[in-house]
């Protein structure tokens, strides 16, 4: 499975550790919160809201360099909006859980 990384953040920071720390701290705080929101809206079958939550998480997926993960999230978001299709739910959850595990100890 594709693994998250800090390449994008490091490239952007050019050695600015304060910036790196700040962005990591935001991800550590917001990722679990937004994932929780996503699970809640999904379980309540509020698909429009779930698509919004996927959209929000999608940007964080791209920050952590997950190219395939980003594609999955984009398709999942469109599926939820158009036909309420949920077959990418498990893949999406795995991506976010891997990201949370990655960011937690940093």
């Amino acid at each position: 499975m594709e693994q998250p990384n800090l390449s994008y953040i490091r490239e952007l920071s050019e050695g600015d550790h304060v910036f790196e720390k700040k962005i990591v701290q935001i991800l550590q705080k917001e990722l679990p919160e937004e994932y929780k929101e996503f699970l809640r809206s999904f379980n309540e079958r509020k698909f429009k809201e779930t698509a919004e939550n996927v959209h929000k998480l999608k940007h964080k997926i791209s920050i952590l360099g997950l190219v395939k993960g980003y594609e999955i999230a984009s398709t999942f978001e469109e599926d939820l909006k158009k036909d309420h299709k949920t077959h990418l739910y498990k893949s999406f959850c795995s991506i976010i859980e891997v990201m949370i595990d990655f960011i937690k100890p940093l």
């Binding site: 994008y8 490239e11 952007l12 920071s13 050019e14 600015d16 910036f19 700040k22 962005i23 935001i26 991800l27 917001e30 919004e52 959209h55 929000k56 999608k58 940007h59 964080k60 791209s62 920050i63 984009s74």
Partner: protein, 236 residues
Amino acid sequence: MDCIIIDDDTTARLIVSKLCNKVPNISIVGEFSNAIEAIKFLNNNYVDVIFLDIHMPSFSGFDFIQTLKNPPKIVLTTSDKNQAFEAFEYPSVIDYLLKPIEFSRFEKSIQKLESYLIQKKENTPMLPEKDEGTNELYVNVDRRLVKINFSDINIVEAKGDYIKIKTENKSHIVHSTLKKIEEKLPNEIFLKVHRSFVINLSKIIDIEDNSVLIKQDVIPVSRSNRSELMKRLNLL
């Protein structure tokens, strides 16, 4: 170049701000997590460029652009590839950046902006244009921007830190001052007749010594404003 950043996502704002700090001649004068706060800021401040997220809850980037009468140049920042076509339907949109934004791509955007602003400087003064020919204004009511046509307004009343805008059918309480709204209203139709009241002259039913009647409201006219009021009336 003065810019503002509008994005509901904290990480996105931080990234755009970092990108801006990497280029000379661009200074961030405001960061906003929603479009309504940005509109309030733009009511009193002029900027050269807005970095604007399209996808925001309740009030999208496109909604935001439509509320601006004289928008500065806008660089859209988004995670959606498929909105580029719609984006360039707005003349103020100068570029469309896909997240995560790479510095090399951001630099190109800045170059575009700079060449546009140099051109503009050569041709016109860089002052915000006066709002002429507008027939309405937008007010912030419960985090929504409500459109009010000038012709519908009967009275505006000062209420401490708020103003009450009375129209034909409704009243809106808005966090603002009488002075601010007076600047927005066309002075050929509206007149301040008292320190707490601005009225629509076309809605006057009758006038007594120190008051005017508008619909069922009796509005006081202060002595200092009375002569101006009389001048503005088409007396027989």
